[in-house]
Symmetry: C2
Subunit: 170 residues, 2 copies
């Protein structure tokens, strides 16, 4: 299963492509799309959409996994994260690529075993799981890869449970 992980943001949007199956994951690509925080809001979204479309067309993921955002004390952060999420939803849906959401806790638990792991622990585990020579930078890139690993593994686990249930029934 190939997953495009998206850590949504307008100033920095982390993107990471992973091929994964239960317990295994290989990095295909990683990057960060940046738009100037003093730029025109519409232009920033259009730029991000073009980049996102480029990634979808180049890597053809089976699914896009996006971080689900909850409340933030800073409403501006929430809004720009939501705008970037909308761009990902639009671009993927138009290509008939399903979009799934995972909370930060789910992602941390999937890659480190603890939902309360800090950023350094997540980055360290992503580096180890993917067998990278050096940790992905910035943190948004590591987060996007962690999202992709999380979904690839959870998806594989669900598929395995479905198969076991089917076998038990049949």
């Amino acid at each position: 299963m190939r997953v495009l992980g998206v850590d949504p943001g307008l100033t920095r949007c982390g993107l990471g492509v992973v091929d994964g199956r239960l317990g295994r994951a290989r990095m295909v690509a990683v990057g960060v799309v940046r738009t100037p925080s003093d730029g025109d809001p519409g232009e920033r979204l259009v730029f991000l959409e073009r980049e996102m479309e480029g990634w979808l067309d180049r890597y053809r993921p089976d699914v896009v996994a996006v971080e689900r955002v909850f409340a933030d004390s800073n409403i501006t952060n929430v809004m720009s994260t939501a705008h970037a999420t909308a761009v990902a939803l639009l671009a993927a849906t138009k290509r008939e690529v399903p979009v799934v959401f995972h909370t930060p806790t789910e992602v941390k638990a999937a890659v480190t075993g603890s939902g309360r792991a800090d950023k350094a622990q997540v980055t360290a585990m992503v580096t180890r799981i993917l067998g990278l020579a050096s940790p992905p930078r910035p943190a948004d890139a590591a987060d996007a890869l962690a999202l992709a690993i999380c979904h690839a593994w959870r998806g594989a686990q669900s598929a395995r449970l479905d198969a076991l249930a089917k076998a038990a029934r049949g």
Copy 2:
């Protein structure tokens, strides 16, 4: 000046087109785009984008005025409003139509004279200003028209002040 007012939302997105100059306003079109709250989030955004693009292409506004959203106790509301706002920003920017934001207080003050007017007062004034036979329904439609009137009048006022300043200088 022709303004497309957008009261952003996913379940109901109010759209209103107004031709206006200082103290005058004529309604060109009004409507509400609805998407099912239990629908796929991506499909809802794609549908809203198509509708928004249709309005932009049909009515060719000089500017799009969107309600600026602040904190809401319900994060789901904030997110879906932000997603709808992103759709408006993308569609307008791709057509090189500028997007402006007005707060609910600015809109209420522009059409009723008080930033603390309630929904019924806003609807009543919109109906009166535009000389409509009956109040626009639902409230989202009236809000979209109020936004468009607000921007048409504020824009006209700024242009007038600019002209006066220029005359004073020259």
